[in-house]
């Protein structure tokens, strides 16, 4: 038995649950609405206006990062003065490695490490 296009449409409409069932009650809708609105992130409608909390948090993070960098630099300078030259060369080689970070909108993070000591021919053997 074949199902014509017209017959198919009629059967789909006849089986439509929206026509056969009651819509969600006002209480259910209100409950859903409360859940959704309560989940609103603070950034939802703040496009174009400054966000004091976020700005403060970012400033604090930058300050901490700068302070940590300054402390590390000082400690490294002391370390360099106390170490013989050979040790220092090894550190330089290690420091010459560079990294490139990617992150996708989905949250996947990719880190490439460029090692200047890497030789492709050696790995083929």
């Amino acid at each position: 038995m074949t199902t014509s296009r017209h017959d198919l449409r009629a059967r789909l409409r006849d089986a439509d649950p929206v026509a056969a069932e009651p819509a969600p009650s006002p209480d259910e809708v209100a409950r859903m609405r409360r859940t959704v609105v309560a989940a609103t992130s603070p950034q939802f409608a703040s496009v174009g206006r400054p966000r004091p909390r976020a700005t403060l948090a970012l400033a604090a993070m930058l300050t901490i990062a700068a302070a940590a960098g300054a402390v590390s630099a000082r400690r490294f300078a002391v370390f360099r003065q106390t170490q013989p030259d050979t040790t220092f060369e090894v550190s330089t080689a290690a420091a010459a490695r560079t990294q490139m970070h990617f992150s996708t909108p989905g949250g996947t993070r990719i880190i490439w490490t460029f090692d200047p000591a890497f030789q492709l021919r050696e790995t083929r053997r």
Binding site: M1, R33, S41
Partner: protein
């Protein structure tokens, strides 16, 4: 409707509340036609608006753009559920679960058969069939809502009709 008193950011809550008030009924109708039960449909609608709350910057301005964005999110949520269900079924080696309705009345049996056939369609194709055949939405509007071309809509419609007809024909 209750005011958004418990929101963490009042303007944000207002915008989301307006979005909800404007689109929830239409989204529920679509969701109900996309899933098996009304509870599932409510969950899908709520998840859609929760995603809106999490990605506010990606929601375009204007009712029709908002609606298209929400419909796409809803269909994607249905796709996620459909994929998980497919994997679960494959691992369990079972056939699609039948709707809960078990009754001797022929009308109910006919409805159950139609819904089993719709359940077999991938969500985007099902959305195209539902929007066109049940809601009488014009093809260019469906294309705009789902973010695909009119040609793709026609193709989904054609394949969907064929699959439904084959399934329903074999069940008659």
């Amino acid at each position: 409707m209750a005011p958004a008193a418990d929101a963490s950011d009042p303007p944000a809550a207002d915008r989301l509340a307006r979005l909800f008030d404007r689109h929830h009924a239409r989204l529920y109708r679509l969701a109900r036609r996309m899933v098996r039960t009304s509870d599932e449909a409510r969950d899908v609608v709520q998840d859609t608006f929760l995603r809106a709350a999490r990605s506010p910057r990606s929601i375009p301005d204007g009712p029709s753009h908002e609606e298209a964005w929400l419909v796409r999110v809803l269909v994607n949520i249905c796709r996620d559920g459909w994929r998980k269900e497919s994997v679960r079924r494959r691992l369990a080696g079972s056939t699609p679960a039948e709707p809960e309705i078990v009754a001797p009345e022929s009308a109910l049996i006919a409805r159950t058969t139609v819904w089993r056939a719709l359940d077999a369609l991938p969500p985007r194709r099902r959305a195209v069939v539902v929007l066109y055949e049940i809601e009488s939405t014009p093809i260019p509007v469906i294309a705009g809502l789902l973010g695909i071309s009119s040609v793709t809509v026609r193709w989904h419609l054609s394949v969907g009709r064929r699959e439904l007809a084959r399934f329903l024909g074999s069940q008659l």
